[in-house]
């Protein structure tokens, strides 16, 4: 894609805003439309755009396989870990009321952590799927 300079420059301009928007959707999801599922997809689409325009090898340097593969599991662990933290604090699994000094703050904290876990898993899976398809070679 070295010849498509308009594409390359437009992508370079857009990618930071896509990533920033992904983070906004992630952490503002409690107040406006958004949440972990959407944020994960949007964040991953920023990296996928980079990979499409500059080649999978360049994108692999941004998102190395060793890290992204582990992040898939880390997200689910953050989610389940929030549930277990509630158990350790004396509540039930995924009971956020006991996480903070009062139940409303506990709910807010729990929802934030759970959405973070979802966002990590979704974006890592999407990036992994992209690399899996991009690295495959056509066979006849």
């Amino acid at each position: 894609m070295n010849h498509y300079s308009i594409l390359r420059i437009a992508a370079k301009l857009l990618i930071p805003y896509i990533l920033l928007y992904g983070l906004y959707v992630q952490f503002h999801g409690d107040f406006g439309p958004g949440g972990g599922f959407q944020a994960g997809v949007i964040f991953a689409s920023g990296i996928i755009l980079y990979g499409l325009v500059f080649g999978p090898e360049a994108a692999r340097r941004v998102a190395p396989a060793g890290i992204v593969d582990r992040l898939i599991a880390v997200g689910v662990l953050v989610y389940a870990g929030t549930g277990v933290a509630g158990m350790l604090k004396g509540g039930q699994f995924l009971d956020y009321n006991v996480l903070a000094h009062d139940s409303t703050h506990g709910q807010h904290l729990g929802i934030l952590l759970v959405e973070l876990g979802v966002g990590i898993t979704v974006s890592a899976v999407m990036v992994t799927i992209f690399f899996a398809f991009a690295a495959r070679e056509r066979t006849e």
Binding site: F31, G32, P33, G35, F37, Q38, G40, V41, V122, V125, I129, A132, F133, R136, T139, E140
Partner: protein, 126 residues
Amino acid sequence: MTTMLGLYNYWIVIFLMMTGFYVVIAQGNLVKKVIGLNLFQISVFLLYLTMGKVDGGTTPIQPDKSFFSGDPGNPIYSHPLPSVLILTAIVVGVATTALALALIVRIHEAYGTIEEDEILVQDRES
């Protein structure tokens, strides 16, 4: 006439669902089948969401009292539960679609074709 106006959303969605279903069962190309499943899936999403809509309702997001100082009145909210169900279903749907497409890529590597009947012929010959 009232029945038609009241139920048209379901009928449109059923038409969309059935067209997707037709693509799944009538086409022999595996990618086309996955496209059909996707169309079917989006139609089912729409079916759920039309059930959650209420007359004169608004988005189930409330103005935060610390940011919004005016009087919100007493708005009616559309039901939030269909949104929750469908939100997760969309992302799970694309993950499973990716799995199906990965299988298609492997089938193409093994058989050299993604047409259902040609694959069956090769299976019978071997």
